[in-house]
Amino acid sequence: MPRLLSSALALRRDPRILKIPPYLSLLCILVGAVWLFLLPLNEYSRRTYISENALLPGQVHTYFGGSDQNVLRAYKQEVNSLVGKSNVEINDKLESIVRGLGLKTARQNFTYHAAGRTFEGENLYAILQAPRGDATEAIVLVAAWENVKHEVNKNGVPLVLTLARYFKRWSLWSKDIIILLSPDSIAAPQAWVDAYHDAHDSSRVASLPIKSGALQGAIAIDYVQENRFKSVHIVYDGVNGQLPNLDLINSVVNIAGGQMGMGVALQEMWNHNDKYPDRLRTMLRGMLKQGLGLASGPHSSFIPYHVDAVTLQPFGEGWQDEMAMGRVVEGTFRSLNNLLEHLHQSFFFYLLMHRERFVSIGTYLPSAMLVAANFTIMAIFLWMKSGQPEIPAASTTESSDKDDAPTPTTERDLFLPLAIVALSGSLSAIPLYIFNHVPESALTPLFYLFLLINTLFPITLSLTITTLFSPNLQQYHLVKSFSLLLLGMFLSSLATLNFSLAMLIGLLSAPLSFVKPSSSPVSRIVGFVLLNLTSPPAVLLASAAIWGLNVGDILREAAVAWHVTGTYSAVVVWCVWWPAWLAGCVCVLGRPGRDQEEEKKVKKA
């Protein structure tokens, strides 16, 4: 044992050990990226299964049909006559219908201000009290008047009304059923859920006049399609990449796919052949949505409150009608009604790649962790390196026989590096504030202005630092070390909350691990250009170009998400990624002053 320790100590002093970390770091990134692409293989993913036995999906007969269709047609007529009317007129009419069914109704006003716009409206909701229940638990059925694409939910609203009438006839409900008819798909459900949990800002969102018990689950119906459909699309992404319990998705897959015989699609993969490319595409789409952290439907707002929710969208040309969709909802509600405990059995962290195939956190997390670890490894490496004097290249060859001499250490000058990292960190508040608080019309010009400033600012900053302080190589190492340490720390903790976002940011900021100050102006310029290509605004511009979107629209959505749903992706981009990028730019543009003083110090030592 002592020999082992001493040999380890000797190894620590070995100058060759310092050559390993950059390669180790690169290896981490490569393994992390390759890991991700292995996940869709059969060996690394698993088949889904129902973990909560109480759910018993697809085990009940569904009776929604027959003359209920006559009622549905009548409600559809009523809803069609309301298209284009104001929110209050729509609610007046819908409320009279729901009240006629014998349900308790109430309304709630909300106003949100984001990106210079005002999102206001009035939620209408009704509580179908469990016939023998006592208001301790509830499940929610949501039909937004408009879906996320601002199409009128022409079939969804009548279907929900008909289902409410049908559910009223059953006496088996153990939980209250709340029917939420919201004017839109993002802000309105958010206002309602916030108010339900008393987490709302009462100056903008009104409190709910009537309430029921703890919410156990929610199903939203987004049924815009007029003609018969083929299968059901399950939208499950929550705000900030949070996901509903996998059991809920599995139940819907089981009921819609198994019992009703209609297919189920995920992540807009309308035709999925369950082969590697399709699985990978489904997974990457899911990761992209998760990484963006935006609300994808009325269900998204429920998930942060630990209420498992999905949106069901019928799609495709087929022979399934509204009644079939109603039976899917009926079956799912019967399953949720069976729940004795809040959904907790199955997975909350998963990546779905097919409706019956997933990977759980234990399998996929290492990839993001490895990418985040590369920054930490480099940070530690640079810290060690900064503590060793720069030995001239010639002397290393001679020093083979001075094994047991203690490695000379140098004082670290911490003030300037810490100040630079702190400055870049605090400057990040500026873009975060600006992009979340300017009106929509100013977003696009402001973005291009920012892009320009973002390109010029590191040059100015670097010039200022070099002229004022003339930092040496050690200080540049320390700047990079601190910024990478922070980046690695943030990304590894973020990976447990929002895996995809941590993975995306980690891969995009991977070049920051390998930038270093150079004495040749050419390599400085090349390095700076390369870094600018991976700067946050450049990536935003590039992704807008790839998906054919307007940059202004993306920024508006981000600002709305920030104000309405509390999406924190902007914080990660501006306060984690951007400062690290800025510090990287300072390093790459740095001209380490070859101070005479330091050389003297080395000679003395």
Partner: protein, 617 residues
Amino acid sequence: MRQLFSFALLSFVSFSSLLSSASAAAADYHEQLVLRPLPLSALLASFNFRSNTSLSEFEAHNFRFFPRSLGQILQHAGTQELHLRFSLGRWDSESWGARPWGGAREGGTGVELWAWLQAATDEEADHKWLTLTNALSGLFCASLNFIDGTRTTRPVMSFQPEGDHPNMTAADTHLLYGVLPHEVVCTENLTPFLKLLPCKGKAGIATLLDGHKLFDASWQSMAIDVKPICPAGAECVLQIELTIDMVLDIDRSKRPRGNPIPRPPPGHELPCNTSKSYHAPDTCFPTDHQANQDWTLSQIFGRTMKGTCPLTDPAVPPVCLHVPDSRSVFHSDGVLEKKNLDRVSRCFEIQPDVDFEIVLPAPEDELAVVVKPETPLLYAERSFTGHGQERGGVQTILHNPSPDTEVEFVYMESLPWFMRIYLHTMSARIQGQTAKDDSLIKEVYYRPAVDRARGTQLEVRMRVPPASTVFLTYDFEKSILRYTEYPPDANRGFDVAAAVITILSPAAYNLRTTSLLCSLPTPDFSMPYNVIIFTSTAIALAFGGMFNILVRRFVAADEGPEVGLAALKKRIQGRVGLLVEKLKKGKTGNVSDESGTKPDKFETVDTAQSIEGALKE
């Protein structure tokens, strides 16, 4: 024949009772069913059974109408007054109005029990309470024995004795109150209840009590009240009152029992609003929420009423119906219909041996279907605020509908110990005002919880001004339970009993809020097993290696025993040689000592190997 005999016996008993106590004989037992149609096709059925026994006979164990099983328990536990409630569902006061009996015959969801016990000390009272709850638990097939110290409180302001207690002093009478909010009331509780009745469920209104219908009700409450009553100038009597109230959904109750599934009716039977422009054979705007005002007794209860109980006081009509006088009601033969003076109710006098049936046809006048329910004095709704598993809040919304009368009441919460309330956060404010109004709360009685021993008791005497809504809020912290303290369905949450609201003025009225489900921080229960398995594996691996190092003796290869085939051969040869030597020496009868050292050395090594082998197994 047997029926006749029992009837004769019963009449003999009642006759003899007439002889023994002539004064109270007529009022010894009576039963009455009040039917009250409510808006939204609901029907309230209130069954009331009341019997008296004089205290002297009760003390002499002379039970007649008083159930012996219950009487003995009460005597044994020194109970002076008892109130037991089994409730399910919620009373929808917005549609149904004021509660039956002024809310005095109902409890919160689950089981509620409060009693005045005679005991010299608190400890004696606790002991008697334990006896009482355990005995009642057996009698009513309910988990009343789970009313332990953590679920028992001693209310100060909320409950007052209903009976007359001339000899009662505050020192030796203790009021104890226990509640089980998670108890599911079911048919197993109904059967023992019916057994307490003089006619069981065989005759009279009790024949209508069918478990299937009772437990399909939207709201139902079974109550047992035992209290002494001392009329002026007469002997005190002990009165037992058994009450069952239920609100039936007419639509649901009319479904035949064999086919309870609410399949959609055929299209042509669907009542439609034909005035709609789009009305067509396949398009129908339904109007059926106004329907189902026609019903018969046998449709609702699944059977007709089998005569009257022969023991009942004939002066009290067994069935009364609250519908406007203008509504026509048909009844079976042998029944006398008497309209009351208030013009909104009528009663039926029934011959003892006829089957009773009433039929309410669909009303011609849509407005005069039901008697408009009374407005309750107060509406109360309680819910949790906040989210997360660390803290929470409770908000009770109290609305006084009266335009001119202030309501004063006592609001009582008995909370489990793991909800630690912050009393300083308790505040009341009137809707529309942001600042809290201290004048609303008049008096607070607070008994803090003791972990694992006692729950929180909070009684607040407060007022609600006319035509206003008051928000009473307080915050609490959720404690973390011990691993073994979680029930099997830990993720369901923990039930919090209903708050009891006792209105003091302008009139006596009781109401209860709904119960709540409080989710506590719950560990992932599969995690401990994972941890156990993981640590066991780690320890087994580390221990195996470590133990090996500790007990194994390291020797250089040339010093140690040789290994390989040659060594084995050598060893066997050695053993054989030894054996041969032994045999030779055995013949001579002399055993040498010198061969002791070498095998000993081998033995140590072998021991280590065998221990290692055992570990591997």
